[in-house]
Amino acid sequence: MPVVLENLGKRFGDGAPVLDDVNATIGAGEFVALLGASGCGKSTLLNIMAGLEVPTSGALEVPSDGAAFMFQDAALFPWLTARENIELALKLRGVGKSQRRVKADELLDLVHLGEAGDKRPHELSGGMRQRVALARSLAQDRQLLLMDEPFAALDAITRDLLHDELERIWKETGRTIVFVTHNVREAVRLGQRVLLLSSRPGRVVQEWAVSEEHRTDAGLAGQLTGVITARLREEIRRHAK
């Protein structure tokens, strides 16, 4: 099991807990969608898994080599070209100079950006930037890939395509992916399992399995989306008072 979360809790200073008693296990090669309304601590949970923040209570088990991370904005370095951005990740990982170029070109080709390697981030569209960011996170060569709403800022057409793209790359590379989103459709479209996180404090309240049939049968997928949405709204309604 690459990721095990046990009774995980997090609070900032003396404030109310952001996460409380989070329990989850994520298997090797699994694609898990972590779903929740805004302010439910999804990103905090992801940051804890990435080692960017420390939990205040509980225990977690993550791969010893850490995790690759993909942010909501591509966060590419504007002074480097697309290829150099990927090469930097390889360099910081300790890949030798002679191999970097070849490896970076392979990764660019994997995300279908073989032609755009010499472009600067500002010359790329939002979707292309996000694909470079995906290639960069793959360059880190970690088994675990954490994604923090990576497609939230993209237009709908691009997002649909990137869903297909991410699914393809996940199958090709066999990564374990934890994908944070507040979009129920996106969670159902991508995850093998959808974990619903409650808000204030964040806690895993329910989970659903998404089967292969859901990938091809829009009716079935729509039904599951409806069920999850209803549960999510119930969770939001609790905070109405």
């Binding site: 690759a68 910081l92 829009a218 729509g222 409806g226």
Partner: protein, 317 residues
């Protein structure tokens, strides 16, 4: 809502289902395979990217400043020809131009420009070499920054001319005096430029650096320094301006000894001889060197830097 007794929650799954079939593409796979996907993405990429724009020489960039200069000189000549002041107190452009020609013929002009420029550049480069590591260290290490930050900002406000008397007492009338004053002018402003450049780095860059596994030194050299480059360049520009000003001040005040003959010395000589044409010629030469360095050195570097980061669009440069 008394008119609508049906609970909202019961309606929801049905509504979701109905809308779900309309957004078919978002819920299930929408492409038929790798090749199909590659083609779709290529199409979308070309739709969403701007066509590369060609850069042409923009003549207004050259003609407008020249026109402005001509207008200023004409206004000057017009004022002089009104005869409000005595000609030896306010010489006209032609008198000054004539004096520049005389100074050139004597070789004085070349000597003065060369001496000053050489000192200015050497002093500036040494300042950069000192200020860059210090600035990076201050920007990256919080306790150091808290301790020395106010002092560095204060030094930037203190006119470096204030150091001239002290420098003369310590180093006498030597080049050391001139360089000391230049350092005191340039170093704090380069440090401040670098620090403010580092402060303006989006916090996301450091997080990416951490996630990618950068250690402290790699973070400073591979991420922080390049990210802070626009601010750093601003600091360098200001640092050059401060070295040039400090140098002139030092040369005007400290004359003689082993200090060579620079533009400041020329200016002071004009004052001693009460020759306004020499004074004006020296002032214009000091200004011209400043403008040329800006145009030939800093402007191209800055333009390249900003353009490569996509920061020039919509600016009036």
């Amino acid at each position: 809502m008394p008119n609508n007794p049906t609970p909202l929650a019961e309606e929801k799954p049905v509504a979701e289902h109905a809308s779900a079939e309309k957004v078919h593409a978002a819920l299930t796979r929408s492409s038929t395979g790798n090749e199909d996907l590659r083609e779709l993405e290529a199409g979308l990429d070309s739709l969403q990217s701007d066509a590369a724009r060609k850069h042409r020489i923009d003549w207004s960039r050259i003609l407008l400043p020249v026109a402005a200069l001509v207008v200023l000189v004409l206004v000057w000549q017009f004022y002089v020809s009104l005869g409000v002041k005595r000609r030896d107190l306010v010489p006209g452009p032609l008198d000054v131009l004539g004096q520049i020609g005389v100074l050139w013929g004597e070789g004085k002009l070349q000597e003065a420009v060369w001496t000053s420029l050489q000192r200015g550049i050497v002093g500036f480069l040494i300042s950069v070499a000192i200020a860059t590591p210090v600035g990076l260290l201050l920007a990256q290490v919080a306790p150091l920054r808290r301790a020395f930050g106010p002092l560095i900002s204060g030094l930037q406000v203190l006119p470096s001319v204030a150091w001239v008397p002290a420098a003369i007492i310590w180093f006498g009338l030597t080049d050391a005096t001139v360089y000391f004053v230049v350092f005191m002018g340039a170093i704090p402003s380069i440090i401040n430029g670098l620090i403010s450049g580092v402060d303006q780095i989006p916090p996301q860059y450091r997080r990416v650096g951490t996630v990618l596994g950068a250690n402290r030194l790699q973070m400073a050299l591979q991420i922080v320094l390049p990210a802070a480059l626009p601010g750093y360049l601003g600091g360098l520009k200001q640092g050059w301006a401060f070295s040039w000003r400090s140098l002139m001040a030092a040369e005007i005040i400290a004359v003689g000894g082993t200090i060579g003959f620079g533009l400041g010395s020329l200016l002071d000589q004009g004052r001693v001889l009460s020759d306004m044409t020499v004074v004006m010629a020296a002032i214009l030469l000091i200004l011209a060197v400043g403008i040329l360095i800006e145009l030939l050195v800093f402007a191209p570097i800055e333009k390249r830097l900003l353009r490569s980061r996509g920061l020039l669009a919509g600016s009036t440069r």
